[in-house]
């Protein structure tokens, strides 16, 4: 009985490892490859070590095998996170089918700290003004209209510093720049008026 269970566990482990191998070969970019290998290979090793536990069943060996499982479960995510983080910084590309990169703009590229973008120098000198970031949602009223048409400056005392679109940025945009859903606006203005703009642009 013990041999049967242990044999099944080894086979499951081997199958998972094969899947990890297929994953690392077939996935389109580094990040998906990493997701395939770390999780699946960890499961495979865990299963094989459980087979060791079942097969030997002596206290000393069981303890060592379980310690090894715990070690792998602890270290695999840490290693994957460090590699993924480092790769993101050095600009390893995402695959072409990527729909959204939610991390873009969230890392300070100089200090490598994770935070929302802020402009401390600017706010020091202009205590009444705030710099904000605003995303144009799908189906928003502002999508498809130009900056001149939505009249942020006249109606809300808010200026647009830049429009971030996909991977490029339009600095100091003119009134004839047409907003698209998914664009991100960098705005400057009084804090309460920025909230008004956020409300107004959100509306459908």
């Amino acid at each position: 009985m013990r041999e049967v269970i242990s044999g099944v566990l080894v086979l499951i482990g081997a199958a998972f490892m094969l899947l990890a191998g297929v994953g690392i070969l077939r996935m389109p970019d580094l990040y998906t490859r990493m997701s395939a290998t770390t999780k699946v290979a960890t499961l495979g090793v865990g299963s094989t070590l459980l087979a060791v536990v079942v097969y030997f069943g002596e206290l000393g060996i069981v303890t060592r095998a379980l310690a090894a499982v715990a070690f792998v479960l602890l270290t695999a995510p840490v290693a994957a996170h460090m590699i993924g983080r480092a790769s993101y910084f050095i600009g390893v590309p995402l695959c072409r089918e990527t729909a959204i990169d939610e991390l873009r703009g969230q890392y300070d590229l100089r200090t490598h700290e994770l935070e929302s973008v802020c402009f401390p120098e600017l706010e020091l000198q202009l205590p009444d003004l705030q710099v904000g970031r605003l995303r144009i949602p799908d189906g928003a009223a502002a999508a498809g209209r130009t900056l001149a048409e939505i009249e942020l400056r006249r109606r809300y005392d808010v200026s647009v510093l830049a429009v971030c679109r996909g991977s490029h940025t339009i600095p100091n945009p003119d009134g004839d720049v047409r907003l698209l859903p998914g664009d991100e606006l960098i705005l400057i203005g009084p804090p309460e008026r920025l909230d008004d703009v956020a409300e107004a642009l959100k509306g459908g």
């Binding site: 482990g13 191998g21 290998t37 770390t38 060791v52 060592r64 460090m82």
Partner: protein
């Protein structure tokens, strides 16, 4: 078919195939990070092979080898990640 034969003739070849696939990615790249995770995967699969071999040959001491391999593989990956980040970092 007993457990030893099952491991040596079925499980081991499957794991070896996984190792070969990881090595293909190691050779192909295209980036250094891909190679690092391929190396990490070889370490993990190697650990599984050692554990399976410990069962097949009834040698529980091999488990210590697997633990050391896991440790080395982890340290290697972390060192590579530090190096990758430092290379262009602050």
């Amino acid at each position: 078919m007993n457990l030893t034969d099952l491991i040596l003739w079925v499980a081991m070849p499957v794991m070896s195939l996984a190792l070969v696939l990881a090595f293909v990615r190691l050779a192909r790249g295209p980036t250094l990070s891909d190679r690092v995770i391929a190396l990490d995967l070889t370490g993990t699969v190697g650990m599984g092979m050692i554990a399976a071999y410990a069962i097949a040959r009834d040698l529980p001491v091999l488990l210590d080898v697997a633990i050391v391999l896991a440790l080395l593989s982890f340290l290697g990956t972390v060192a590579f990640a530090r190096y990758l980040e430092r290379r262009v970092g602050p």
